[in-house]
């Protein structure tokens, strides 16, 4: 029996939300794949809407799986978001500084200014014919950028959880 388009959409919408909530679960794609098969099979008995409803909220189901691990797991997705936000903030500040410098140069009648930060020389040019920014790449700047991303990433991911020992075998 094939699954209708409507049922497929209902199933995949649920699985998408479940998959998002399960991202930190080890080998979560296997769990999602098995749940897809289980949902499809159950829907052939009781209908897709009932099958999905019986599972409850996808976040609660994911919490159930994570809880059964018996130990906290790193939250890599959260860490990646923290890292990206930190890096984005630094890029935003650098661009704001650059445009501010160009505006100032323009107000002063134009010219060229060089600034050195972390060994990288950045040149700001603003005159009647051209406006622009250019910089060099140094290892210090690369290390700084990597640190700006990595430190929030590791903190946001609670990376120390990766070394949390698995619990001893518990009673069924």
């Amino acid at each position: 029996m094939s699954t209708s388009l409507r049922d497929t959409l209902v199933r995949e919408r649920y699985l998408l939300r479940f998959s998002w909530a399960m991202q930190d679960y080890p080998r979560h794609k296997t769990v999602v794949r098995e749940l897809r098969r289980e949902l499809t099979a159950t829907a052939s008995e009781v209908g897709m809407r009932r099958a999905v409803t019986d599972l409850g909220h996808p976040r609660v189901l994911a919490d159930g799986h994570l809880g059964e691990l018996g130990r906290p797991v790193p939250r890599w997705t959260t860490g990646a978001v923290w890292g990206a936000l930190a890096l984005g903030a630094v890029v935003y500040l650098a661009m704001a500084y650059g445009f501010g410098t160009l505006d100032t140069l323009d107000q002063l009648g134009g010219g060229t200014v060089e600034r050195v930060f972390l060994g990288a020389t950045t040149t700001f040019t603003s005159d009647g014919d051209a406006i622009g920014m250019g910089t060099t790449l140094t290892w210090q700047a690369l290390v700084f950028s990597a640190a700006v991303f990595t430190v929030p990433f590791l903190l946001g991911a609670r990376v120390w959880r990766a070394w949390t020992p698995a619990p001893a075998a518990v009673l069924a």
Binding site: E38, T42, A51, L55, G56, V60, G64, L171
Partner: protein, 115 residues
């Protein structure tokens, strides 16, 4: 009238009940939910059972096999392993001892309250 059931009480014994039902006969996930409903756990959701099945299989207490179905896709049937059977036996004994202790303590409290 039945008292509302504390989900935490069920959480502790659900793996044992799953092993017990699978010892009777192999079942697939949704069938187990139905059997648990019929056994009196009518407020149990499938979403509570699947993580338990997943963990029991990961711990090697149950095994699974795919069985083709005429009414839909293949079903994943579960059966206790030898480890699961031993675990059921030891957990059932631990549960009976705990239940006896709890009953005795509750009986004392109930007697004191009524006197």
């Amino acid at each position: 009238m039945d008292e509302p059931r504390d989900p935490q009480l069920l959480k502790g014994v659900l793996p044992m009940l799953v092993l017990a039902l699978l010892t009777e006969r192999e079942s697939y996930g949704y069938e187990l939910v139905t059997r648990l409903h019929e056994g009196g756990l009518d407020d149990l959701g499938a979403g509570t059972l699947y993580p338990v099945l997943n963990r029991l299989e990961r711990d090697g207490q149950i095994s699974s096999r795919l069985v083709a179905s005429t009414s839909g896709p293949a079903r994943k049937y579960y059966l206790p392993t030898d480890t699961g059977a031993q675990r059921l036996w030891s957990t059932a004994r631990a549960w009976q001892q705990l239940a006896g202790t709890v009953d005795a303590l509750l009986a004392r409290a109930t007697t004191k309250e009524s006197s």
